[in-house]
Amino acid sequence: MTTELILFFSLALIAIITGLGLLISKNAIYAALYLVLNFFTIAIFYLLLGGAFIAMAQVSVYAGAIMVLFLFVIMILGAEKLGKSNTVAWQRPVAIILSIILLIEAGYVLFWRTAPVQAAQTLPDGFGGPASIGNVLLNNYLLPFEITSVLLLVAMIGAIVLTHKQKTDKEV
C-alpha cells in the first residue's frame, strides 16, 4: 500500500509540475513536450487503476499521434517563441474568477463532502481489457460507435477536399 502511495504522489507531483510548465513556458516546443510528459503520467495513473487498454490508447493517441502533429505544426510555422502577450483586457480577471470558483468547488468536495469515502471495490476479471471494451462498444454502444467512425471519416474527407487544389482550366 505504501509503495502505491509513494508512486501515486510522485506521479501526481510530476503531473502538476508538467501542467504548470505547459502553462508558464514561453517556448511552444517546451510547452508541447511538457504536455507529452503530462499525458504519459496520466497514462500511468490509468495503469495504476487497472485500465491498461485506456492507458495505451492515451499514450498512442495523445502522446503519439496528436502531439507529433502539434510539433509538426510548430516546426512548419516556426512559431517556437511566443511573441508579446496580446491578451484581451477582460480575459485575465475572468480567468482569475473562474479559477477561484473551481478551487472552491474542489475544496468543497474535498473537505465538506457528505458521503464517506468508499473502499475500492475489487474489479471483475478482465475489467477494462480489450475484450470487454470491444464487447461493450459493439454490443451496447454500436450506434454511437458507428456514428463516431462515420464522423471521423467525414472529417478526414473534408480535410482532403478543403486542402485539395482545384484544377483550373489552364492547368488542365
Binding site: T3, F53, G64, V68, L71, F72, P130
Partner: protein
C-alpha cells in the same frame, strides 16, 4: 538447470528476503534488476550486431568486411566504441540544449521499452500485459518524438528536413503496420504477446504470410533503413536529423537504429514465427530462449539483406507505395481474415482446416494483387524529345544588323 534465469531470480529473491527486506520492496528491486539486465543485454547485442551487419554487408557486396582487429574482425566494434566515446561533443550555436541532449536518450529508450513485453521463453517474460500489441505501438511513438526533437533543436535546416521526412514516413507506415498486427490478434484472440505465442499452433506465418510480409515491410520503413532511409539521404540532406550530433550522442542514435532492427526481428519472431516455441521448449525453457534468438536473427537477417540489396526510393514513391498499395492491401486482408475467421469458427472447423483455409485465402489475395498490378500499372513511357541538331547556324531572321 533447465531454467537458469528463474533459478537466479529465485536465489536473488531468497537472498533479499533473508536480509530482512519486505516482500514488496524485494519485488521492486527484482523488477529493476530485470530491467537493467534486459537493457544491458540489448546494448551488448548491438555491439555484436554492428560486426555481424558489416560482415553480411561485406559478403553481399563481394568484399571481406572487418578483418583486422581480432579473429574475423570480432574486436572491430570495440575499437569503434572506444573511438566514438573519446570524441568531442559539439553543440551547435543556437541549439536548444535541453531538448538537444534528451533526444538521443529517448531514441534508445523508446526501443528498449518494447523489450518489456516480449516473451523470451515460456517462463521468462518482463510483463504479461494484456494489451501488448497496443503497447508496442504506443512506445514506438516516443521514437518518432525523439527524431522530431533532434531535428527541431539542432538549429540546422538539413536536420529539420530530415525530421519532416521522418514524420511523413513514420506516420504513414504506422497504418499498414497496425493493421497487419491485427492478424495475429485475430488468430490468438488476445492482444497479449504471451497469449499470441502460446496460440501459435501452427506458426502464424503459415496462417497469414501476407500479414508477415506487410509487417516486415512497414517495420523496415519504421526503422528508417534502406530502401526507406530518405530521412538521412546523404546525397540530398547530408545526414538528416542527426547531422549535428557527435561522439556518443550520435552513437546513441546509431545504437537505437541497430537495436530497433533487432527488435523488429524479435517482433517478427514473436508474432509470426512462434516466439520461443520449438521441440522441448516447454520442458526446458533455456531451449526456448535459444529458439527465440535464432528466429530473431532470421528476422534481423531478412531486414539487413533487403537493406543491402535494394536502392533508396524517392519520397513520392515511398508515399505512393504506402497509401496506394500497402494500406488498401492490408485493409482487404483484414476484412477477409476477419470474415473467414467468423465463418470458420461458426462451422466449428478443426485447426488444420482453419489453417489451410487461411493460408489459401492469403495466397489468393497475393495472386489477385499481382494480377491487378499487372493490369493497372503501365510502364512509364520515355518522354520523346525532338531531336536536337548538333550544330546550327545562328538565327538570322531577328538579327538587328544595321541596314545600310
Amino acid at each position: 538447470m533447465s531454467d537458469p534465469i528463474n533459478l537466479i531470480a529465485n536465489w536473488l529473491q531468497g537472498l533479499l528476503l533473508g536480509l530482512g527486506l519486505s516482500v514488496g520492496l524485494t519485488k521492486i528491486i527484482l523488477s529493476f534488476v530485470g530491467a537493467v539486465v534486459v537493457a544491458t543485454i540489448g546494448m551488448l547485442t548491438v555491439i555484436f550486431l554492428i560486426w555481424l551487419e558489416r560482415k553480411i554487408a561485406g559478403r553481399i557486396q563481394d568484399r571481406l568486411g572487418p578483418n583486422r582487429a581480432g579473429p574475423y574482425g570480432l574486436l572491430q566494434p570495440f575499437a569503434d566504441v572506444i573511438k566514438i566515446l573519446t570524441k568531442e561533443y559539439t553543440t551547435p550555436d543556437g541549439a536548444d540544449v535541453v531538448v538537444y541532449n534528451i533526444a538521443p536518450i529517448m531514441a534508445v529508450a523508446s526501443v528498449l521499452l518494447i523489450w518489456a513485453v516480449i516473451p523470451f521463453a515460456s517462463t521468462v517474460v518482463g510483463t504479461n500485459l494484456n494489451v501488448g500489441v497496443l503497447y508496442i505501438m504506443a512506445v514506438g511513438a516516443f521514437g518518432l518524438l525523439s527524431i522530431l526533437m533532434a531535428g527541431l533543436s539542432s538549429n540546422n535546416k538539413f536536420a529539420l528536413l530530415g525530421a519532416f521526412r521522418s514524420v511523413a514516413q513514420l506516420i504513414s507506415y504506422e497504418i499498414p503496420m497496425v493493421v497487419s498486427l491485427l492478424m495475429p490478434v485475430i488468430f490468438a484472440r488476445s492482444m497479449g504477446l504471451v497469449d499470441i505465442v502460446e496460440a501459435q499452433m501452427p506458426w502464424f506465418i503459415i496462417l497469414s504470410p501476407l500479414a508477415a510480409l506487410i509487417f516486415i515491410i512497414a517495420s523496415m520503413a519504421e526503422v528508417n533503413r534502406a530502401p526507406f532511409d530518405l530521412m538521412e539521404a546523404e546525397s540530398e540532406i547530408v545526414a538528416g536529423f542527426h547531422i549535428e550530433y557527435s561522439g556518443m550522442k550520435f552513437g546513441m542514435f546509431y545504437v537505437g537504429e541497430f537495436l530497433h532492427v533487432f527488435t523488429v526481428g524479435a517482433l517478427v519472431a514473436t508474432l509470426f514465427l512462434g516466439g520461443w516455441r520449438g521441440p522441448w521448449a516447454e520442458q526446458y525453457p533455456i531451449l526456448g530462449l535459444i529458439y527465440f534468438y535464432i528466429k530473431t536473427f532470421v528476422g534481423y537477417f531478412i531486414v539487413a539483406w533487403v537493406r543491402l540489396t535494394v536502392p533508396r526510393i524517392r519520397i513520392d514513391q515511398m508515399l505512393d507505395f504506402n497509401w496506394k498499395f500497402l494500406t488498401p492491401l492490408s485493409l482487404v486482408l483484414l476484412i477477409i481474415t476477419a470474415v473467414l475467421d467468423r465463418v470458420l469458427v461458426l462451422v466449428n472447423s478443426e485447426r488444420w482446416v482453419y489453417s489451410l483455409v487461411m493460408f489459401l485465402a492469403n495466397i489468393l489475395i497475393i495472386w489477385a494483387t499481382v494480377e491487378v498490378l499487372k493490369k493497372t500499372t503501365s510502364k512509364p513511357k520515355r518522354k520523346e524529345f525532338p531531336m536536337r541538331p548538333v550544330a546550327m547556324a545562328p538565327e538570322t531572321s531577328t538579327s538587328t544588323e544595321p541596314s545600310s
